[in-house]
Symmetry: C2
Subunit: 150 residues, 2 copies
DNA sequence: ATCCTATATTTGTACATACAAATGTTGTTT
DNA sequence: AAACAACATTTGTATGTACAAATATAGGAT
């Protein structure tokens, strides 16, 4: 639905305000969509994101800093997010040997299995959502969002 | 920056995944930008959003439901968000007379003063962010985001 | 009028997040 | 080498948010 109608915004709101409202609103909406798809697996979008990052490390350990830099939503307490993944046995954490201030975080076999399983469901949601956008529209959307953040 | 570089994503990720990642990432980024602009006023983006909704009511009271429907980020406890605004004396809340299940929430004079003041700062942030996008680019962005949510 | 269902909000509780201070480690300066 | 600043993470604490159950009111159906 059109953003103005959706949130019952005044009709003469300038386009730039509409656009920013739309980015925020659509971001939240998308997050909620993903969250409810993840719900049955008892995992949050944030946790899913971190698991995916760790899977992308291809066996290499990641420090907290590396994880944080790559997270979609930066947060001020990644330690505790990793704690949650630890109790689920999805990751391991130990002091980094070459720089003992850092910590080596790796995904476990069971973490890999979990994310592979969960990814299928998320993939389905993602293709569903984007199916009414053409490839060139996706490219344009990416271009405009990148430009916005410059 | 380009979303793939930003989050150090694998290069052969399909465009639709990039787009959704970009929507989420840009939404969070924008929220953080606004949040830090609001910080000096000791008010959260959510609270700011509700005050703006109430200002838009032009004196008419809003029920919790009305507020929730118009919020950028839907949340499951609007009561407590309004509690916060109450303790700041930015709003009033009383039982609705025509339907006593509902509550009438109104913005106070001091709430109006606050939001007028704060809006100036947020406006500045918003124009800053969008200044490198042309009007037709903003229109396209809005169109694509609306289409995504369909 | 009584009963039942739907609506609107609040409350209890568990969990998540933000922020600053504390801890431990490393590199640099003197 | 001692002292100090910079870095990486953790911990304490306050606040925010999610979810379900509880409360209260309204609008039918019998």
């Amino acid at each position: 639905m059109i953003i103005g109608k959706q949130l019952k915004i005044s009709k003469q709101i300038p386009e730039y305000k509409k656009a920013l409202l739309n980015v925020l609103y659509t971001g939240n909406w998308l997050n909620d969509e993903v969250a409810s798809a993840l719900k049955p697996f008892d995992i949050s979008p944030q946790q899913f994101n971190v698991l995916r990052i760790l899977r992308g490390m291809k066996g290499e350990p990641a420090s907290l800093q590396v994880i944080q830099d790559r997270m979609i939503s930066k947060m001020s307490n990644t330690t505790r997010l990793v704690d949650k993944l630890l109790t689920k046995d999805f990751v391991t954490r130990k002091q980094c040997e070459s720089n003992r201030r850092k910590v080596d975080i790796c995904i476990t076999k069971s973490g890999l299995d979990a994310i592979d399983e969960i990814s299928k469901v998320v993939d389905r949601v993602e293709t569903n959502i984007t199916e009414n956008l053409q490839e060139n529209e996706l490219l344009t959307l990416n271009k405009l969002l990148n430009k916005l953040r410059e």
